[in-house]
Amino acid sequence: MEISSLLKRLHQGDARAVARAISLVEDQGQSGPDIMAGLDPKRLETSLVVGITGPPGAGKSTLTASIVKALRNEKTRVGIIAVDPSSPLTGGALLGDRIRMMEHTLDPDVVVRSMATRGRLGGLCAAAGAAVRILAASGCRLVLIETVGIGQSEMDIATLADITMMVLAPGFGDDIQAMKAGILEVVDLLVVNKADQPGAQKLLLDLGREATSSGRVLQTVAREDQGIIRLLDAIFALEQQLRQDNTLQIRRQQARQREALDWTLELLKPFLRQQINSSPTANNDPGEIARQLAGRIIAEHG
């Protein structure tokens, strides 16, 4: 397919063109940079990227499906990127997040893309940022990214999304105790899902009064579509606020820099691996090998 015609069809929302464009970028095809450069900047600007994270079993996929349903009632075109882990041994992956999204499969304005982490840690895949922008350019007002179920420190999503929400559910109280130290600093919204279950009140207590009285903690029962409208209202209110005080633009700038750093490291990896493997100091302390190698590179090019 010619890149110009691919881009034209992509901007018309053609499913095949959107999907192919993501593959070309993900597989690091030659046309990747041309595709990214040809995306309509206006659509990228007006779209909102919402990251959804949280421990496995908290209901991320169900909540995503419920949010999609509410958005479709308003005729909003929405994109979903669902990330699942790749096997570190074989590189293969089983991507099953679509299953909870099947009721929207025949709706051309719900674009779902399952992606595997392909060796990347932190709950995302390297091409997630590019996929988000392709979906936005295809006319998605909202792009939801559902990350690999994660715990404490793997919060890459917060750097990619405009707004990040963490989904929790009753029974994860101990996790909260462990995570509490940093969550509210990194995520914008905390969603207590399965709020009709015993233990939901205890979870809210665990989160602490400071959090629950901040307006950043919301309760949902995603399986029954409860609390979703209020959640969306909170998301859009936050968007307006972030756009007004310029935070959104700053976040996007930081996200791009972070993504550029990730890509750079990815591109350098084969070279670094070869340097390390051919190093005569193989028996030394790994930290020392790393410092020497980095020192040599910086000395040569710094």
Binding site: G92, L95, V112
Partner: protein, 137 residues
């Protein structure tokens, strides 16, 4: 860089016996494929539409209920209607010998039955994906 093939495994129709489909999905994953699994009880249109959105290089269908003669070619037709006839469709399940020819005529590129070794299935998917990727250039 080695190309990673994406495939979709789905079960069309009302048959809920998904052990075979899940077995194949896992075997393909372990062979290095990215496998999108759509679960049981899908319509042919849902499977075709998912295959397009996910840009897979091949679709694998499983049926244990005897409805394969109707459902497998329906997925091929649905892909064709959406302009994605280049995505090959492979199928497996309880499929009588005499149906194989009819399925081939219906556009199913490979057919697997309970005795087929898993390596044969993986090989068939690899071939089908490689051919589809060549057509992308």
């Amino acid at each position: 860089m080695k190309t990673i093939y994406r495939v979709l495994i789905g079960k069309p129709g009302l048959d809920g016996h998904d052990r075979g489909a899940k077995f194949i999905a896992r075997a393909l994953r372990d062979a290095g494929f990215e496998v999108i699994y759509t679960g049981i009880r899908r319509t042919p249109d849902e499977i075709a539409s998912s295959a397009i959105q996910e840009d897979v290089a091949a679709v694998g269908l499983s049926s244990m209920s005897g409805a394969h003669l109707r459902l497998f070619p329906a997925v091929v037709d649905s892909l064709k209607r959406a302009g994605a006839e280049d995505i090959p469709v492979l199928g497996g399940g309880i499929i009588p010998e005499e149906d194989k020819q009819l399925l081939k005529q219906g556009g199913i590129t490979s057919i697997f039955t309970p005795g087929t070794p898993v390596d044969t299935i993986i090989h068939a998917f690899t071939e089908a994906c490689s051919k589809q990727h060549q057509s992308r250039r």
